[in-house]
């Protein structure tokens, strides 16, 4: 959950990159780490196995001045995609302010994408939350490969329930669409934070007038 420190004039947000094994979550963070200016980024930390597969999470802290008078800190996490690490995914998802679901566009990966999205819904439910109440976007990755599903098919498969989320095409290995996805989820998370605060204030006013 977002965290406001008036003493340090900082607001922290947590964004989780979720998706099937090898869909490109870590590649997103690696590209962002390379692309961001020094003043906007911290160290990229990867907790990986010897085979370079994510074991616990990857972590990249970013900062901006997008909210007036405060430093906005965005803590980007990935989850490990492999099925055996479900408990770890649930832990990393705790307190997420926004989610980027990275889908692998290859036809062969459609079952894994669908399974991972179901897993995301289940893990959010274990925290008494649902996708309908937190900002999220889809990133359709690996659009440069040959054997890929068309965008409308991916949208039909993944993005047909409830409110439709925004979809971004990407080729994370060369950075296409990576920053665009990040900018959108950051804006959505901040808008959600500001709106929740305004609602809180109006409820408080109503209660004090009653």
């Amino acid at each position: 959950m977002s965290f406001v420190n008036f003493d340090k004039k900082e607001i922290n947000f947590k964004i989780v990159y979720y998706g099937a094994p090898l869909c490109g979550k870590t590649t997103n963070l690696a590209h962002l780490h390379n692309a961001m200016p020094e003043s906007a980024k911290g160290e990229l930390t990867m907790l990986s196995t010897q085979q370079d597969r994510t074991l616990y999470f990857d972590f990249l802290p970013l900062r901006s001045t997008a909210i007036k008078g405060f430093v906005s800190r965005f803590q980007l996490y990935t989850v490990p995609g492999q099925p055996i690490y479900n408990k770890t995914r649930r832990i990393v998802l705790t307190g997420a302010d926004g989610v980027v679901f990275v889908a692998d566009s290859q036809w062969s990966q459609m079952p894994s994408n669908a399974e991972s999205l179901k897993d995301l819904r289940n893990n959010l439910a274990s925290h008494n939350r649902s996708l309908n109440e937190i900002p999220y976007v889809f990133q359709l990755n690996k659009r440069d490969l040959d054997d890929i599903a068309p965008v409308p098919y991916l949208e039909f498969l993944l993005n047909h329930e409830g409110l439709k989320a925004q979809c971004f095409e990407s080729v994370a290995v060369n950075g296409d669409g990576v920053t665009t996805t990040l900018n959108m989820i950051c804006k959505m998370v901040m808008a959600d934070f500001i709106m929740s605060h305004e609602m809180e204030v109006s409820v408080e006013k109503e209660t004090s007038h009653a």
Partner: protein
């Protein structure tokens, strides 16, 4: 709900965390919540943000281990290195007090002062974990700076 720290609370915990550094003869002290959000740090360093995230991850994994071992939670963790060691204590359920120290001081001393400080912080941290912006900073408004791109 958004968690918040007011200026007064921030000042108070900063002083306590800074005192702990001296008392325990430590290299660094850090207070964060279990989500890895830093509340106070001494000294301020770039790597603290990552340190807090890793400590939070470590505590979450430790909690799962505790549950699987039939415990509700393990309240502290200790990592011993050749020269540098790390002691982390859970405080008021939702917070972690992290102490990094060299072999020039002892684990006993670090534990003694960390637990004393944890007790001192308890009531303030319980306030922090239950308050929201509208109740303690009612006049505050948040506004985006109007930039097209965040990054």
């Amino acid at each position: 709900m958004t968690s918040i720290v007011t200026e007064e609370q921030g000042k108070l915990v900063r002083q306590i965390v800074s005192d702990l550094l001296v008392q325990a003869e430590a290299t660094a002290t850090l207070l964060s919540d279990i989500g890895g959000n830093i509340i106070a740090e001494c000294p301020g360093r770039d790597e603290n943000e990552t340190l807090a995230a890793l400590a939070a991850g470590s505590f979450s994994a430790t909690r799962e281990l505790a549950v699987m071992s039939g415990e509700t939670s393990f309240n502290s963790i200790f990592h011993e290195g050749e020269d540098t060691s790390l002691f982390a204590q859970n405080v008021a359920e939702h917070f972690i007090l992290l102490v990094i120290f060299q072999k020039t001081t002892t684990l006993g001393l670090v534990k003694l002062y960390t637990r004393k400080v944890a007790a001192e912080l308890e009531s303030t941290l319980r306030e922090i974990s239950t308050q929201c912006v509208s109740s303690v900073k009612s006049g505050t408004t948040f506004e985006m700076s109007g930039v097209e791109k965040v990054f």
